[in-house]
C-alpha cells in the first residue's frame, strides 16, 4: 500500500506494528521457556520467564498510548482504522498470553522436585503446538496474510484436543498415585493456561483477518472439538 501523504502517519503506524511484533516475540519465548522449565525442573529459567513479564506489560502500555494519541491526532480511516483497532486488541491478547506464561513459571517454582518426569513431559509436549500457533499468527500479521490468519483460527481445535488428552493423562497419574495429586493439579492449570493461550491466538487471528480483509470471521463457523466436559 502507498505511503501516506503525511509520512509521520506511516512512521507512527510502523512503530506500533514493530512494538507489537516485539511483544509477540517476547511472549513466544515465554511460552516455550516456561514449559521447558517445567520439563527440566529448571527453576532459574522459570524465574527468568517471570522476570520478562513486566517488559511485556510496559510494551502494551506503550502501544496503547501510541494508539490513543494516533486516534486523537490522525483520525484513522479504512485500513488504517482497522489496523489500529487490531493492534490495540492484539496488544491486550499478547499481554494476557504473557501473564499465562508467567503463571506457568510460578507454578514450576511450586512443583516438588520429585514430580515424575512423565508428568512434566506432558505439559512440555503441549507447548510446541501452542507456541507454533502464536508464531503463525504473528507471521500472518507481519506479512498481512489473511489466509494464514484464517488457518490459525481454524486449527485451534488441535490444541483443544491436545488439552483434552493431557487432562485425561493427568487424571490417570493422579488416580494411580495420590501423592502426585498436588503436582497434577498444578499441571492441569498449566495445561489450561496453554489451552487459553491457544484461544488468545484465535482471537488475534480474528483481529488480523479483519484488519486485512475488512470482514469478520464468525466464531460460530469455527470447527470445534467435541465437548469432553472439561
Amino acid at each position: 500500500m502507498a505511503d501516506h501523504i503525511v509520512s509521520a502517519f506511516t512512521d507512527e503506524l510502523d512503530k506500533i506494528a514493530a512494538d507489537l511484533m516485539r511483544m509477540g516475540g517476547i511472549v513466544e519465548t515465554m511460552i516455550l521457556d516456561s514449559c521447558q522449565a517445567v520439563d527440566r525442573n529448571d527453576k532459574e529459567l522459570a524465574k527468568d520467564v517471570i522476570s520478562r513479564d513486566p517488559s511485556v506489560d510496559r510494551l502494551e502500555e506503550e502501544v496503547e498510548r501510541q494508539i490513543v494519541s494516533l486516534i486523537a491526532r490522525r483520525q484513522p480511516m479504512a485500513h488504517d482504522l482497522r489496523s489500529v483497532f487490531a493492534a490495540l486488541k492484539t496488544a491486550g491478547e499478547l499481554e494476557r498470553i504473557g501473564d499465562l506464561s508467567k503463571n506457568i513459571g510460578k507454578r514450576t517454582l511450586m512443583l516438588d522436585d520429585a514430580v515424575p518426569s512423565m508428568m512434566r513431559h506432558g505439559v512440555a509436549r503441549m507447548a510446541r503446538p501452542v507456541s507454533l500457533q502464536l508464531h503463525s499468527v504473528l507471521d500472518a500479521y507481519a506479512t498481512s496474510n489473511a489466509e494464514t490468519a484464517k488457518m490459525v483460527w481454524e486449527s485451534d481445535d488441535d490444541i483443544d484436543q491436545h488439552y483434552n488428552s493431557l487432562f485425561r493423562e493427568m487424571i490417570t497419574y493422579m488416580i494411580e498415585d495420590p501423592r502426585t495429586i498436588g503436582a497434577g493439579a498444578h499441571m492441569l492449570f498449566m495445561a489450561k493456561n496453554l489451552e487459553r493461550i491457544g484461544d488468545h491466538c484465535t482471537n488475534i487471528a480474528e483481529f488480523i483477518y479483519f484488519q486485512i480483509t475488512g470482514e469478520y470471521l464468525m466464531p460460530h463457523e469455527r470447527p470445534k472439538a467435541p465437548n469432553t466436559g472439561v
Binding site: 502507498a2 501523504i5 502517519f9 483520525q75 479504512a78 482497522r82 480483509t213
Partner: protein, 276 residues
C-alpha cells in the same frame, strides 16, 4: 418525533406515521447517467446514484472531482452558468427535473440550497426568512408569516438567540448564526430536499458542531445532500457516502462501510490520506 412534525404539511411526510426505516430505502431523487460539460469540457461523467429520503448523503472527493458540480445539478443551478450543459435524467418523484416543462424557480423551492459562505440577504432577520414564503405565495396574512418565521428559526436552532432582535439585519449575526439563518431561510419554503455545499467550511468548530447537530435533526424531515471536504464530517453526519474522483462516481455505500472497509482502492487511498 415532536407532534408539530406530524401535523405540519410537509411533502416529505406522506401518510400517517410514515415509517423511518421504510423511508431510508425510498430514493427521493434518482440520477441516471448524469454528465455535465462546461464550455465543452466534461466535468461529470455518467453519474448514476439514488438519493434516499430522510437521510443524509455526503459527497466527498478531492477538489475539482465534480462533487459540487453534481450537487448543483439537483436543483438546476448549472442553468445559471453560461456554457454549462447537463445531460442524463434526474428523477424526483418520478418527474425528470431536467425536462423543459419544469420551472427551475419552483424546483428550487422544492430543493433548497445552503452555500459555503453564509449569504443572508441585506435585510432584517425576519425578512430573510419571510422572503421566500412571500414570493412563493405560501401565506395569506401576517400572522401566518410570523408563524412560518418562528417555526423555521426554531427548526434551525436559532429562535432563542434571535427572537428579540428580528428586525436587526441578518448580517449582524455571527458566522455560525448566519449559516443557521440561511438554513432557516431554505426550510421556510417547505422544501423536500436540502443541498449543502460545504456549509461549515467557514465556521469554527463550535459553530460547526451546531450545524452538524442541526443536520442530524433536519434529516428526520428532509432529504439532505451535503458536499464536504472534511471526511470526519461526512462520517459524522451522513448515512450514505459517495466518493467522486476526476468527475466519476467511484464508490457509493453506507457511510460505515465506506469509512471502515471501502471496496475501491481509490476510495481507500483518498480517505486514508494516500492520494499523491
Amino acid at each position: 418525533m415532536d407532534t408539530t412534525a406530524q401535523t405540519d404539511h410537509d411533502p416529505a411526510l406522506t401518510g400517517e406515521g410514515a415509517d423511518q426505516a421504510q423511508a431510508l430505502v425510498y430514493p427521493r431523487i434518482n440520477c441516471q447517467d448524469v454528465n455535465v460539460f462546461y464550455s465543452g469540457k466534461q466535468a461529470v461523467f455518467d453519474v448514476s446514484l439514488p438519493v434516499f429520503d430522510r437521510s443524509v448523503t455526503a459527497l466527498i472527493g478531492p477538489s475539482g472531482c465534480g462533487k459540487s458540480t453534481f450537487l448543483r445539478c439537483l436543483n438546476r443551478m448549472n442553468d445559471t452558468i453560461d456554457g454549462a450543459k447537463v445531460t442524463g435524467d434526474i428523477f424526483m418523484d418520478g418527474e425528470n427535473i431536467n425536462s423543459p416543462d419544469v420551472d427551475p424557480v419552483l424546483l428550487r423551492s422544492r430543493v433548497g440550497m445552503v452555500f459555503q459562505k453564509p449569504n443572508p440577504f441585506p435585510k432584517s432577520i425576519y425578512d430573510n426568512i419571510a422572503y421566500g414564503p412571500r414570493i412563493h405565495g405560501l401565506v395569506d396574512d401576517r400572522q401566518e408569516l410570523d408563524a412560518i418565521v418562528e417555526k423555521s428559526l426554531r427548526r434551525a436552532g436559532l429562535w432563542q438567540e434571535v427572537k428579540d432582535r428580528l428586525t436587526q439585519p441578518g448580517t449582524s449575526l455571527s458566522g455560525g448564526q448566519q449559516q443557521r439563518l440561511c438554513i432557516a431561510r431554505a426550510i421556510a419554503v417547505r422544501p423536500e430536499v436540502i443541498l449543502m455545499d460545504e456549509p461549515c467550511s467557514s465556521l469554527d468548530p463550535i459553530a460547526t458542531a451546531r450545524i452538524e447537530e442541526l443536520i442530524d435533526e433536519l434529516r428526520k424531515r428532509y432529504c439532505i445532500v451535503i458536499v464536504t471536504h472534511s471526511m470526519q464530517q461526512a462520517a459524522r453526519v451522513s448515512q450514505r457516502t459517495a466518493f467522486f474522483h476526476l468527475g466519476h462516481l467511484v464508490e457509493m455505500g453506507d457511510t460505515d462501510q465506506i469509512f471502515t472497509s471501502p471496496r475501491e482502492r481509490r476510495t481507500e487511498d483518498y480517505i486514508t490520506g494516500r492520494f499523491g
